[in-house]
Symmetry: C2
Subunit: 242 residues, 2 copies
């Protein structure tokens, strides 16, 4: 199954440690891992790296994990093709990304949403998939809703939750839906089966730093908490926005 990784921080921080933890999962824990991807925000634009090969074998991911990328929001994903007939291709790798309102929006999903492509309730309009996955279809569906609701301006956490509540509930009824989504300011997390969070606070470069990590499966021996299911959680600047 796929693995998700998310990070929201108060100040830009490097993600090398988290990526280094995630990397072996695309080969050791998940021998069928078919690709990996990671999105870093730089202002309102996300930079995305993806490869349709096992993360554990990727020289490119090893290289990125050593590189000095610093960001306040990161969304990463290790993919296991499911169903297997959906091929290895960068277009099928998460995170997916689209521009809306002059911002990058990104999305990564863990789970399956059978029937989404044939159900008129999830018909798409403005955003269409580049690949063949249910996950990208779900992302396009959610982003269509944001666009219709005036997502051309930056929304508040409460506004995002209100717009997404009904479409996320509808998707959640199709199957397993654990996802991370971001507009570059907020990191949204939703789980109907599993997602874990780990808050960290520390001094970093003489600044008070606050970071929250998210992962389908805890990445370390620290005290990760399961995220309450069935609810859209919004994180910003390293903490959950109530």
């Amino acid at each position: 199954m796929c693995e998700l990784l998310g990070m929201s921080a108060l100040h830009p921080t490097d993600v090398n440690h988290s990526l280094a933890l995630l990397r072996p999962r695309g080969g050791d824990l998940g021998p069928h891992a078919d690709g990996w991807g990671v999105a870093f925000y730089e202002g309102r634009a996300a930079q995305i790296f993806k490869e349709p090969i096992p993360a554990a074998e990727s020289r490119c991911l090893a290289f990125i994990a050593e590189y000095d990328f610093r960001s306040t929001i990161v969304v990463g994903h290790i993919r296991r093709a499911n169903p297997p007939q959906i091929g290895r291709a960068a277009a099928n790798n998460h995170p997916f990304s689209r521009e809306l309102g002059g911002r990058s929006w990104v999305f990564a999903h863990n789970g399956k949403l059978p029937g989404i492509k044939d159900d008129p309730a999830f018909a798409l309009k403005r955003f269409l998939p580049l690949g063949e996955t249910d996950s990208e279809h779900a992302f396009c569906f959610l982003l269509d809703r944001v666009a219709n609701a005036g997502g051309d301006r930056v929304l508040e956490a409460g506004g995002l939750r209100a717009i997404l509540r009904a479409p996320v509930t509808a998707l959640s009824e199709l199957g397993e839906l654990n996802f991370l989504m971001s507009d570059g300011v907020h990191l949204l997390a939703f789980a109907n089966t599993k997602l874990h969070v780990l808050p960290r606070a520390c001094m970093e470069r003489d600044c008070r730093q606050r970071v929250v990590l998210m992962a389908t499966t805890p990445l370390t021996d620290e005290q990760w908490s399961p995220l309450a299911t069935g609810k859209i959680h919004v994180f910003a600047a390293g903490q959950e926005v109530p």
Copy 2:
């Protein structure tokens, strides 16, 4: 000044040789080069790599140039920030990309288009810039026009030319406009000052291969031809579509 690189091929081919030729230009020939980017198509989705650092110093570009990427369309760019106050950021690096009609569209530009952001004739609607460049504004403007003209389906070469003729002419009157643009099937090339092409035909893996390379400045000692200015040239499958 910036350097453009384009390739259209009949069969997927690797671009290592061309990238290797382009790479030293972002440091030796262009000491102020501020970033690089390259887009490869894999079916209808483009995979894009960008970095806001000189190409000649990039380990990532060196890595990609050695990697086995194969594609029928490639668009590459070496950037010199101009004006210099527009910062080094991946969002300001070409090629730019947007999804339209379930396909990636990419765009890379050489030149300057002063006044484009303040001129109501170039106001934007559906696609908005993620960065601060005139070039991305021009791309969003052109793609808005394609979307309005029904670009949700794959267009023929003649249809693309007809849709883009007036907006490209308008942009061309603002300043220097040499660009490459692609929908994954066609590679469009336009120059009002300089762009060169080099057709190549050869046998490759027992197949008849046909490739056309495009560059602002010839990359080799071969017989590159200057592209006729003021006209939208459309290439597909390694040759110009009349």
